[in-house]
Amino acid sequence: MMRRANTDLLSGILGLGLAGVFWWGRGDVGRLSIMFPHALLVLLAAFSVALVVKGMVRPERRSIFAEGDRGKIIGSCAILYVWVLAISYVGFFLSSVAGFWVMACYLASSRREVTPLLAAKLFCVVLAEVTFFYLVFAKLLFVPLPTGAFFN
């Protein structure tokens, strides 16, 4: 972002939005259950308003998302979400091998060309690593890892 952002205003608005979402989602609950969260929501809103005011009067400006390649953040974020969401459909093992491998190739592409040979090498490393962790968690620590449609 070339323009320097008014971080006070932005974080204040974000805080107000969050307070709004929670206020809307507080539901119909008893007095004892809600008295403390109510106080917290008021506090959150107060700090947010204070930040908004400060953002208008004496804003702190700085460039955000400035370091490095912004595309890579969005890309790896997307891969991470797909990886995690896929676990419930295809199980831990398959989705982790796939997610890990895709992410490794994607990140490697910024430094060097990802040739089929490199991709294959990465795949072997990924397979070994995921298998190792799978065995440690499932067989040593007895964590029941999610199983998917195809495979444990």
Binding site: L14, S33, L44, S76, M103, L107, V130, L141
Partner: protein, 512 residues
């Protein structure tokens, strides 16, 4: 005293040494993996200890517990992710050191500080248990509320940029802590129609998300691995002897951190997650170089790591004398005691002194064993992380994070929550709202709510129930401490201004 020496000689047994060595090593691994907690490790170990005589079982459990609290430092230093909530402050200083090529130095210092903390904890447990236990039960619901408020004053020092943003983060954390079944009242709050949210936002899930995910995104954006190669100069300072010299060159810091660790540990329910932050904060306040904090201050690192290892044996004070488990791992140890027919109480120190002293001494031994295990293990993990190219390291950290988060409660929803919070935390971090105050809010939110509502209930026969909050002497002391803690940055700034009017000019300089 004779009993003590008898027990001590009895412990000089190869099996005991093997158990401690194995326990500390396993604990270190568990602690270094974000998501794997000491409580979980102890629970997995439990069935094996039934097959051992009670003393051996306790020795193994104590060693794992000690190792796990210490192991959190590795992840904190090397990938900016506290492996357990006990090493949050370690990440503040350890990671900047590692980025500067001082990773090995940070690990050595953390190791020595942890060992000292562990020994101090065992010593306090050995000699001061009865009076400390009496202090520990003085804390009622009102005191808990004020302790939480006192804890919130730390926000000011945890948010270097803007205090206002720190408080914004703190209140976000406290609201996240209130998701799920209300501790008092029993209704579902903020579940947005999803039954799985009844379980709330587990503090460790949030801790992992808020610390790891932003770091992963930064690493991806910059196409770099986490660490720099260790410099020659730092290699020299990273040797074991040099680390010992450095740590002992700050005796005031050590003593203060150990005492803070012990006091926090005996308050049931507080534990290492709060101790390390309080000790860090006090170290910063007392330091001659507060400006180095956050940029790799050795003092901050030592304060955090020594205080959190004090809490391991420290939380055994209320456990062994009164049967009060202050933290989840303590509950497992209490279970072991009960299953062997051992009732917590002063009897444990007299009638079954053989067992109790054996357990305490073995915790001290475990602290000593951390030094070789930690220094060797630390070098190994460091090499591994340094030599791995960033495009393998980033997804590896993601994999471990996903597994660790899942294993915490065997819940895939927790993994999704972790990821969402992490993304949100990344945005907030870019806007100058740091992760630490949010996590602090999460830790303290529940304690504050319980204390507050319980106290109002206790006072429900009074005309003004909230007066209950101020009635006890201990509450009043904590309130004074809180006011002092909150005002001290302003007070000292005022004093400085009065003393050196010239400094005013320097403050006018724009930051960076």
């Amino acid at each position: 005293m004779e009993l003590f020496w008898n027990v001590a000689t009895e412990l000089m047994d190869p099996i005991v040494f093997l158990l401690i060595l194995g326990g500390v090593t396993a604990g270190l691994f568990v602690g270094a993996m974000p998501g794997l907690t000491a409580a979980m490790a102890l629970a997995v170990l439990l069935p094996f200890t039934f097959k051992l005589p009670p003393l051996y079982g306790l020795v193994a459990l104590g060693a794992v517990y000690m190792g796990a609290i210490y192991g959190g430092a590795f992840a904190a230093i090397l990938v900016n992710t506290p492996g357990t909530p006990s090493s949050i402050a370690t990440a503040f200083e350890g990671y900047p050191m590692a980025k500067d090529g001082r990773a090995l130095e940070a690990i050595s210092l953390a190791t020595v500080a942890s060992a000292i903390g562990g020994l101090a904890g065992a010593f306090f447990l050995l000699v001061l248990s009865p009076p400390l236990a009496r202090l520990s039960i003085q804390f009622g619901s009102a005191e808990y509320f004020w302790v939480a408020m006192l804890g919130l004053t730390l926000i000011a020092s945890l948010s270097p940029g803007s205090t206002l943003k720190g408080f914004l983060g703190g209140s976000i954390g406290m609201i996240l802590a209130s998701v799920g079944v209300a501790p008092i009242g029993g209704d579902n709050r903020f579940t947005f129609g999803m039954p799985v949210l009844q379980g709330g936002v587990e503090m460790i899930v949030a801790l992992i998300g808020l610390f790891v995910i932003p770091e992963l995104f930064n690493m991806a954006a910059q196409g770099r691995a986490a660490l720099a190669e260790v410099t020659m100069e730092s290699r020299k300072r990273g040797t074991f002897l040099a680390a010992i010299r450095t740590v002992f060159s700050m005796p005031g810091n050590l003593i203060r951190s150990c005492i803070i660790g012990e006091i926090v540990a005996i308050i049931p329910g507080a534990g290492g997650s709060i101790a390390n932050l309080v000790a860090y904060n006090e170290a910063k306040r007392a330091s001659k170089h507060p400006e180095r904090f956050g940029k790799g201050s050795v003092e901050g690192l030592v304060a955090s790591e020594s205080s959190n290892n004090v809490t391991v044996a420290g939380s055994m004070v209320p456990l062994l004398t009164l049967g009060i488990p202050g933290a989840p791992p303590d509950a497992v140890i209490l279970g072991v005691l009960l299953m062997h027919g051992l009732r917590p109480g002063l009897d444990l120190f007299t009638v079954r002194g053989d067992l109790t002293y054996g357990f305490i001494i073995s915790m001290g031994l475990a602290a000593l064993f951390m030094i070789p295990v930690g220094i060797l293990g630390g070098r190994l993990i460091y090499r591994l992380i340094l030599k791995t190219p960033h495009y393998l390291l980033i997804p590896s950290i993601a994999l471990v994070t996903i597994l660790g988060t899942y294993a915490l409660r065997n819940s895939l929803s927790d993994v999704v929550i972790m990821l969402l919070l992490g993304t949100f935390g990344f945005l907030l971090k870019e806007l100058g709202v740091e992760s630490a105050p949010i996590v602090l809010g999460l830790i303290l939110g529940g304690i504050a709510e319980m204390g507050f509502v319980q106290t109002l209930l206790r006072g429900s026969s009074l005309e003004h129930p909230w007066l209950m909050l101020f009635q006890n002497r201990l509450s009043q002391i904590i309130i004074v401490l809180m006011v002092l803690s909150f005002a001290s940055p302003y007070l000292s700034a005022g004093v400085r201004k009065l003393k050196k009017p010239l400094d005013m000019l320097r403050e006018e300089e724009p930051p960076e």
